[in-house]
Assembly symmetry: C2
Homo-oligomer: 428 residues x 2
């Protein structure tokens, strides 16, 4: 993989009228002999927000982007056609889960993950680092890798930086993630330093394995992952390590793991400036509506999260004013859409009262409608974000969002605003 | 409701080339001032099978027909668009369930069941008789009606022949069923006679209530229900009572409740000849592939059953050779469709291996694909049945089906063929 200088690196960031226009990028990077790349199209003048485009062999992904999660080769409750209809350009799947079930051999025999699950657009696979340390039992880390017990049947498995590359190539992922060492918090400072440094060494091994097994002949690229817990110095060091690596994109891991939101905001603000301008930046596991806006404001291009679909299955539905709980009795007789402004099937074809009934009656169709609604809501937020970046009005648009949307957390504690929203300005 | 003589009652039953052609009916009946009716289009010469057409204010239903069940105002796991795409022309909903949740007021406020659940084709609602006696607790029958405890919260409710008409008019059902007294078997002969006679008296009250509350101004018609347990004389008596009633169609209830299949076959054979030729005949709660063919052969026009969708959710999928269990390990590496000849989404877009994976992983999308597949399988069986009736080849087509399709029951007990298939000939 080579990183090309931007053809017009000093071109002004002119506002554009649409997402698909052919603007000259102001910075760019290429991989797979040019078949994969990132084009930075515009930078906001008031925040760190960026407008970009990821080119893959399976199509273009406009950024900022939210990626729905299909852990087990399916976005829970939905048909891939429905996922695409919500506006999704790329979905996630999980290396750890697919390794255990159905197994990489089955996926490879099926012709890869795209064919297996019926999704023809790009797929990003997480390495499984997070799952090994959060879901599996009895995990043991050595410098070589990690051994653990399957959460399904207790069987023993091993993952190494090299084996997860092999697995992800077997799946045919468009974007592969390195294996990282993820710690549960709180942890001792020495343990955090140890894990962060190990993740960096594993990144080097992942790059070497990718160069050997994958490379320009595959359709897959590799992203590195920055760690560092909530330690400023470690975050900066880790960001610099990822920035120096021969990877197609830079991810930020180990955030949104229970820390206060101001801490997450600070970790982003100190680390994104160290990441290459011409590569995509991916904030892993983050995806509430307010975190999308405020993550973008801090220079993030890509997001994923199970929250919109998980919340949906628990009856939590996004509206322009905040998240409502559809099972509440107040919706029993609400014979109007959940959100009059929404163009999803739940809102255009059914009423809140009907969806309330489906949830009360335990009917699966309710989970489907709710999941489509929340994914569509996030896709529309992202559309709004991209349009604002295209027209140079991002900061004002974020203000509008913040004025209206009431995050769940801030409603829980009266008067305490969401943390990421506290300091949206550039450099703060 | 008036019953018109057929305009061309002695016209020959000519084979026709398609389902939508405008043949002259050989017998007909009308209701709602002609806005509802049944046209008998052809009678098989070798069996009791009939080809017909039900006209409703929400469109035509070609018969024989299988009606998917949407007990709680949703066909489990499916979008109404998907239900329609399987070939469904009409769906069922349940008076008992909808009365308890969400309640008739909610449905009425929503503009009726069609608007509430997003289904614009006809809806048949069962009266709840079966559910009151099978699902509710502490039911007490008097001549007036039945009181019982809700299976949801134990609250006490009452249903009368009149109140279930009122409920179903509130739902806006196209076809309403009378309240009947359903007994669990085995039962004492006197209890069966008592319940059968009560059902007949309740039919008279239902007709009176319909004439008062519904009538030609509504979009709803009423069907009567024949009971009689497994008693030949009672079945005939009950069939005659329903035949004499001023109803738009005749249902056969209290079968497929655990009795041996030859008994069910016999009950059909002795009772359908007593039902009016010019009204639709509906065998309630029956819907395995083999029972459709052999029910049609005994003069049945309409079927409903939760079996195809319930079996689907348990991994039981129909194929031309019989029902398979998709969770079996033999499907783990089957990278081909469940049924190469099937045009449903499960078979055209996914493999058996993928659906196996979804079931093993507990993913809802598997339930959806399986449900669509089974409904589509039954719709295609019905299509084959109608085409065979149109071309005068029904008996041969049923032979072909029987030669290939291995019913679940007959596989369970070696050498014992399905009962209904034992004597498919007319009059046996």
């Amino acid at each position: 993989m080579s990183i090309s200088p931007a053809p017009l690196a000093d071109a002004p960031s002119v506002p554009a009228t649409g997402a698909n226009n052919r603007r000259h990028p102001i910075a760019t990077s290429d991989a797979l002999g040019g078949r994969f790349g990132f084009d930075l199209l515009a930078e906001d003048t008031q925040t760190l927000a960026r407008r970009g485009r990821i080119r893959t062999t399976r199509g273009v992904v406009e950024t900022p982007v939210f990626m729905p999660v299909g852990t087990q080769a399916t976005v829970k409750t939905l048909d891939p056609i429905e996922v695409e209809a919500t506006g999704a350009q790329i979905v996630l799947a999980n290396t750890y889960h697919l390794m255990l079930r159905p197994g990489v051999d089955i996926v490879r025999e099926a012709g890869g993950l795209h064919a297996f699950m019926g999704w023809q657009r790009p797929i990003l696979t997480d390495s499984g680092g997070f799952q090994v340390f959060s879901l599996a039992a009895n995990n043991k880390v050595t410098e070589q890798g990690v051994t653990f017990a399957s959460h399904i049947d207790g069987s023993r498995w091993t993952m190494t930086p090299e084996s997860v590359i092999d697995l992800q190539l077997g799946y045919g992922s468009d974007i592969m993630m390195q294996l990282d060492h993820v710690l549960g918090l709180p942890a001792e400072p020495t343990a955090i330093r140890d894990a962060t440094e190990r993740s960096a060494r594993w990144l080097d091994r992942a790059v070497a394995a990718y160069d050997e097994q994958g490379g320009p002949e595959s359709r897959s690229v590799l992203f590195g992952i920055q760690q560092g817990g909530m330690d400023r110095d470690l975050r900066v060091w880790s960001a610099q390590r990822v920035a120096e690596a021969n990877v197609a994109g830079c991810a930020i891991g180990g955030l949104s793991v229970g820390e206060p939101k101001p801490v997450m905001a600070e970790m982003l603000e100190i680390s994104t400036p160290h990441l290459p301008r011409n590569k995509p930046r991916y904030l892993m596991g983050v995806g509430s509506p307010e975190d999308l806006w405020h993550g973008v404001a801090r220079g993030i291009d890509m997001f994923d999260c199970v929250l919109p679909t998980r919340a949906a299955r628990n009856g939590g539905l996004y509206t322009p004013d905040g998240r409502i709980t559809i099972t509440n009795a107040s919706f029993k007789r609400r014979h109007v859409p959940i959100d009059e402004t929404c163009d999803c099937p739940a809102c255009t074809r059914f009423t809140a009262a009907y969806i309330h009934h489906l949830f009360r009656a335990g009917e699966v169709f309710g989970l489907r409608l709710a999941s489509m609604h929340n994914l569509r809501f996030l896709a529309r937020q992202i559309d709004t974000i991209r349009a604002a970046l295209d027209t140079g009005t991002f900061a004002a648009a974020m203000s509008d969002f913040d004025l209206r949307y009431q995050p769940v957390a801030s409603r829980g504690r009266a008067g305490e605003p969401g943390a990421l929203r506290a300091q949206p300005e550039r450099g703060l």
